[in-house]
């Protein structure tokens, strides 16, 4: 091993040897991938969507058996037939999609992961332990609310707490940062560093190169199932990493890396040329209650013009979800008005809202965006299945046309899947997201309500989606962009609203904002305190 020197007092914890995974439908997800994992290190796992990252870590954590190859610990080969066995061995994984019981509280979910029959006493103990852990880790969540009522970001935190509370030696995090705000990311990374210094191993999957370079010691790269890179973080440049991920061929995408990661304001040069005078979406005094009956959105007013991207930044769970749901017909607000070109859209069926030219990229792709057991083709027409091009007389579906459409989508948005007939649940996380985004953008909408549109997408895909949104803006469409990714909002929005506890702290041009100030506003700190 050439990079032995890096880890001071590190020793081998686990070695994956020539792991190959062929899914039962014949998809080769991993091809003889070998990696050594040592204590005292944070490993970044990079790769495009569908490269096999999730598959690899699922095998390590006992959720999937490898087709061939083996995992070796210093004591000999190990083989887990369930995540529980892996946990007992000291390997815990936080999944890209959460494995929480929706009707249980955070505490109950954690207690549930310990043992089957859980008692009141144990629950009380768990709560105590969790409170200590939250204090220590800086990850805060309400413990007594059913997790299905929590925002996605909060659910993510519950998952992390769940694994941390098991005191694992190897912590695997599959895209944990895609739903966290910069501040939360910093906190998480500090936590990871502390864990590393305490001798743990950590595998971090993310699509953000900056994060990887920030926190990891070592980086491994998967490309189409093959392990193409294993380098020390300090010795790798962004360009090298990007090249490893996509292969040599693609030059243009390397530029994408820089734009999305470094030169945020680059896109501002093509600012709002086609902005229309009249607003398309008009929202006045909107007040919405959340699932638990509390006021989630508090008397908000704004408008979006054609040719404009209106961004909403903020920590998840501050009313963004409720706002978006109200504007897309999924939630009935308490009071206020919202109109699209003068037509009321509050309390109206989603179907009627879509007729006004609205497309909705939802934040929760498993609950809202997809019918997981449905095939790719069936999912690709969700919401447009009644369009004339797909539906003939007697509402007979034109499967020929639909499959053709799906193939186009797959090509245009680079959705990697076995084919139009593959079930959506067999797609990798990023490819599921591409499917939703592709479906919505292919509607050629007048108004796009996009929640976290690039969550989980690799750099190239995220770049393409953002570019498509910018194109649509050029064409005079109105776009509402809700994102926890501050950089994304600041780089692309013409106007930004910072949302905190159901209110807009400030609405202004991103040019007038610094990251620091946004961070403060997101935390509810107003100007007065800032200058004081």
């Amino acid at each position: 091993m050439s990079d032995e020197h890096a880890a001071r007092n590190s020793e081998m914890f686990l070695r994956a040897e020539k792991i190959t995974k062929v899914y039962s439908d014949g998809t080769v997800a991993l091809k003889e991938a070998s990696v050594e994992i040592r204590s005292h290190e944070i490993i970044g796992l990079l790769g495009e969507n569908g490269a096999g990252k999730t598959t690899f870590t699922k095998i390590l954590s006992g959720l999937l058996p490898p087709t061939s190859g083996r995992v070796i610990s210093p004591a000999g080969p190990v083989r887990f037939s369930s995540p529980r066995e892996a946990l007992d061995f000291g390997i815990g994984m936080v999944h890209q999609h959460f494995a929480l019981v929706g009707t249980f509280t955070a505490a109950e979910n954690v207690a549930l992961s310990y043992a089957r029959p859980f008692s009141r006493i144990q629950l009380a103990k768990t709560i105590e332990q969790l409170e200590a852990l939250m204090e220590e880790s800086g990850l805060g969540v309400p413990l007594d609310v059913p997790v299905e009522k929590l925002a996605v970001g909060e659910q993510q935190r519950v998952e992390i707490l769940k694994v941390l509370s098991r005191n694992v030696d190897l912590l695997i995090l599959d895209e944990p940062t895609s739903v966290l705000t910069p501040l939360e990311v910093d906190e998480l990374f500090n936590l990871l560093r502390r864990l590393r210094d305490a001798g743990k191993s950590i595998i971090l999957i993310t699509h953000k190169l900056k994060e990887v370079q920030d926190v990891t010691n070592r980086i491994i790269v998967l490309r189409q199932g093959e392990l193409v890179g294993d380098v020390q973080t300090a010795s790798a440049t962004t360009e090298q990493l990007a090249q490893m991920m996509v292969g040599q061929a693609i030059e243009a995408e390397a530029g994408a890396v820089e734009l999305s990661d470094e030169e945020l304001p680059a896109s501002r040069t093509l600012k709002a040329v086609n902005r229309t005078v009249d607003s398309i979406l008009q929202v006045e005094n909107l007040t919405i209650r959340g699932n638990t009956g509390e006021i989630a959105v508090d008397d908000i007013s704004f408008e979006i013009h054609g040719g404009e991207i209106f961004g909403i930044a903020g920590v998840e769970g501050n009313g963004q979800t409720e706002l978006v749901e109200s504007l897309t017909g999924l939630r009935v607000p308490d009071s206020g008005t919202a109109t699209i070109n003068g037509t009321n859209i509050l309390g109206v069926d989603p179907r009627q809202i879509y007729r006004l030219g609205v497309a909705h990229i939802p934040e929760d792709r498993w609950e809202l965006g997809l019918v997981l057991p449905f095939t790719l083709a069936e999912n690709a027409i969700l919401g447009v299945h009644r369009w004339e091009q797909f539906r003939g007389a007697l509402s007979v579906l034109k499967w020929g046309r639909i499959n053709q459409h799906v193939k186009q989508l797959m090509e245009r948005f680079e959705i990697r899947a076995a084919g139009p007939g593959a079930p959506a649940k067999s797609l990798s996380g990023g490819n599921q997201q591409k499917l939703i985004v592709g479906r919505e953008l292919a509607k050629n909408p007048d108004i796009i309500v996009a929640s976290q549109p690039t969550r989980g997408l690799d750099i190239g895909s995220a770049y393409y989606i953002r570019q498509t949104l910018l194109d649509m803006r050029e064409k005079g469409r109105a776009i509402l962009l809700v994102s926890a990714d501050l950089d994304e909002v600041l780089a692309h929005a013409d106007r930004v609203a910072i949302m905190f506890e159901g209110r807009f702290m400030e609405v202004c041009s991103p040019a007038d904002l610094t990251r620091e100030r946004v961070g403060m506003l997101m935390g509810g700190v107003t100007e007065a305190k800032e200058t004081a």
């Binding site: 062929v22 014949g26 087709t67 080969p77 897309t328 965006g369 027409i381 009644r386 579906l397």
Partner: protein, 382 residues
């Protein structure tokens, strides 16, 4: 592995996988049937019967010849329809346990056409139409209760079965009663009887009604936007709502179609089952057909084509059961035991996983034995 090689291998595997997963549900059903028959055999053994002989008699009696097969199909006719009732609603995410009652109402509505004089053909159509409408109307009440008031459809449909049963008894013996024979209703006139297909059996043109309805449902579910909406709403109501699907409408629709199927089941029995073509108090000719339909639906994996096959199997159990009793002396109830065992086996989720579980368990055992001897374990590909 070179990329091309992997590609080729992957394409082959994909093909195999598709065939096998396509067969998974069928395999599971087959396994359940085998387990059910085995349980029956064991019980027969315990009680001192000869299972081999009994089953031979059963199979002979069910599928042994044209005559036997016809009777089996006659049994299958209403089962296909009541199974569709359950499956339709399940596909839309609802549990409709009310096929029994809906079938009774359909049967009574079919009997009502005895009071009209119409030319054959039209008379048949009117009968079927009446029955389908009555079944649908009867299922609409629980559906409405569910959608407007949130009443659990499981409870309300079961309650409606009882209402239908006693209401049916009253109507048969008091309103629709045969003036000459007071234990039964008026008989359906020849102009509205579904012709018998095979002389001497109960197999009538009703089988075409059943199969046609199953095919229509199949087409509806997988080839129309309406069926697409129904399946989407059943699998993920939230996503369906997001997709502009009105879940309440799809649920209503599933109940209406389900009720129609059950109503038609009643009609095929009233209009197609010799010799009486009339309802009796307590509905002996169709007792439990609605409930057995749920078992058929389960074994048929809620797929219209699967249901047709499963109905022929269950129909065979019923029609061959008599022969089993006569030739092997095994009580008829044994058929119910077999059916029960099948349903229990079917309700084990992901039955097919039994095989990998057994495989893994064996591996583990072997490994632990080898580890015990202190050898390093070499685990090859699975």
């Amino acid at each position: 592995m070179s990329p091309q090689e992997a590609q080729r291998k992957s394409r082959l595997l994909r093909g195999i996988h598709r065939t096998v997963t396509g067969l998974h549900p069928a395999l599971e059903s087959l396994m359940a049937a085998v387990v059910g028959l085995l349980v029956g055999a064991i019980l027969m053994k315990i009680w001192g019967f000869k299972p081999w002989e009994a089953y031979r008699a059963l199979i002979q009696g069910a599928y042994g010849g044209g005559y036997e097969l016809s009777n089996t199909l006659a049994w299958a006719t209403p089962l296909i329809l009541t199974a569709l009732t359950f499956s339709m609603c399940l596909r839309a995410g609802m549990f409709n346990i009310g096929a029994e009652g809906q079938m009774y109402m359909g049967a009574l509505a079919a009997v009502c056409i005895a009071y009209f004089v119409l030319p054959p053909g039209i008379h048949h159509l009117v009968g079927l139409l009446f029955a389908a409408t009555a079944g649908a109307l009867w299922s609409l009440v629980p559906a409405a209760l569910k959608l407007l008031r949130g009443v659990s459809e499981v409870i309300s449909t079961i309650m409606f079965n009882w209402i239908a049963r006693w209401l049916g008894l009253y109507l048969t013996l008091n309103i629709l009663v045969d003036p000459i024979r007071s234990e039964k209703s008026v008989s359906i006139p020849t102009s509205a009887r579904l012709p018998v297909l095979v002389e001497g059996t109960s197999l009538s043109y009703g089988i075409f009604v059943s199969v046609a309805f199953a095919l229509v449902i199949y087409f509806l579910l997988w080839h129309t936007a309406t069926g697409y909406e129904l399946r989407a709403a059943g699998l993920n109501p939230t996503a369906a709502r997001y997709g502009g699907i009105r879940n309440k409408r799809t649920m209503f629709l599933s109940f209406i179609l389900g009720g129609m199927a059950a109503g038609l089941a009643g009609a095929t029995i009233m209009m197609g089952m010799p010799p009486t073509y009339a309802a009796f108090g307590g509905f002996p000719q169709m007792l439990n057909m609605g409930f057995n339909g749920m078992a058929v639906a389960m074994v048929g994996r809620n797929h219209p084509i699967g249901i047709i096959i499963a109905a022929i199997f269950f129909g065979g159990l019923s029609s061959g059961g008599g022969w089993m009793q006569i030739l092997a002396g095994v009580p008829l109830e044994m058929v119910n035991v077999v059916m029960g065992a099948i349903v229990l086996t079917m309700s084990i989720p992901e039955l097919i996983r039994v095989f990998p579980a057994i495989k893994n368990g064996t591996y583990k055992l072997i490994r632990s034995l080898r580890d015990g001897k202190g050898k390093a374990v070499e685990e090859g590909s699975t």
